[in-house]
């Protein structure tokens, strides 16, 4: 059925009749492209997770995450899982050609994703102020010299793997939120993204890592502007489905990071 529909679309677009070769995978090309990208990206995360597991097994690994960190990470996990459900609803709405609900479900997905980023940002800020820093990076003024500070000097792999893995994932979530924003709101999203970047830069204190990290939004704004102005289009159900693949992948990766990074380092 999918092949027949593809042939029909080809005729509609090119205005010619005739036989078209059925696609090898029975799917449109950008969907296959996204799957290939996700397969390659999974190897990036796979390498990072293997490096973490290696360090976890062969090093006297600290277990510093208290109840508040675990509760926070569990809520973050619930946010991502719920965002995947709203993303599925967005795909269904797009296939019904229900533009209003497609946008609403996409915005709900973005809200869950943003909640994840904010909670994670708060967690990072708390840990950094408790002394967890990368080797060579300055400690913020007033940072504690407690357990996390000792871990940073005694087991530098802990901070390196924690910040490396979670930063890589947080970047993916941020890109995902921007991607969904572009699909949901198109050019209307650009001023919102610009305002978020400016507000973040002005309101986050300069000794906070996210004072500089928020520039990822500026880069996203530039890239999204180039795409939207060079190739303006009305994103259809297939675009929503492909963006959903990316979003679910971000969710999937967290299903490994959460147990390995947090639960394997739980303070009992």
């Amino acid at each position: 059925m999918a092949d027949a529909t593809l042939q029909h679309d080809a005729v509609a677009v090119h205005g010619v009749t005739g036989e078209y070769e059925a696609p090898l995978f029975g799917a449109y090309s950008k969907k296959v492209g996204m799957w290939l990208f996700l397969a390659s990206d999974s190897l990036t995360f796979g390498a990072l997770l293997f490096a973490f597991s290696y360090n976890r097994i062969y090093t006297a690994w600290p277990t510093p995450f208290g109840k508040d960190s675990i509760i926070n990470a569990t809520v973050m996990t619930a946010c991502l899982l719920s965002s995947s459900l709203t993303m599925v609803m967005a795909v269904f709405a797009a296939q019904r050609h229900d533009r209003a609900w497609t946008r609403n479900w996409l915005l709900a997905t973005m809200a869950f994703g943003t909640a994840f980023i904010v909670l994670h940002g708060m967690e990072w800020t708390k840990l950094i102020h408790e002394g967890l820093t990368l080797p060579g990076f300055p400690k913020p003024a007033g940072a504690s010299e407690g357990e996390f500070a000792k871990i940073s000097t005694g087991v530098p792999q802990f901070a390196a793997t924690f910040f490396g893995l979670t930063a890589m994932h947080m970047l993916h979530v941020t890109i995902g939120v921007i991607y969904l924003g572009v699909v949901a709101l198109r050019k209307w999203f650009l001023p919102i993204l610009g305002a978020l970047w400016l507000a973040g830069f002005l309101l986050i204190p300069s000794d906070n890592v996210f004072h500089y990290g928020v520039h990822a939004l500026l880069i996203g704004l530039i890239v999204a502007s180039i795409i939207l102005f060079l190739k303006p289009k009305d994103y259809d159900a297939h675009d929503v489905e492909v963006s959903g693949l990316y979003w679910h992948f971000v969710d999937l990766v967290w299903m490994f990071i959460f147990p390995l990074v947090y639960l394997m380092s739980t303070k009992v």
Partner: protein
Amino acid sequence: MHDVATHDDSKGQYFWVWGALLVLTGIEVWLGYRQIFEPVRMLEALLVLSVIKSALIIAYFMHLKFEKPLMRWLLVVSVTSCFVIMYFFFFPDAGRIVHLGVR
């Protein structure tokens, strides 16, 4: 074009999958606090649960279950093969460096 709405997609099954994922997350947190296994066994137990969760996400949320068998198998086999190579070749080799005394 290929349209996922043409599959047997009742919305209820996605809520079930979402619920199952939340329950599995709860089990992971419980295991994390109970510490009933030594670290290596714990790592294996959590990884098994993570693989089950990721399989649910890939099969249902990402709709791979409903794709053509060729695409489904090609993706699963190729990615799994890469991880197997990482596990059986790179992982022991990293341990070998420690035993050789490289600091």
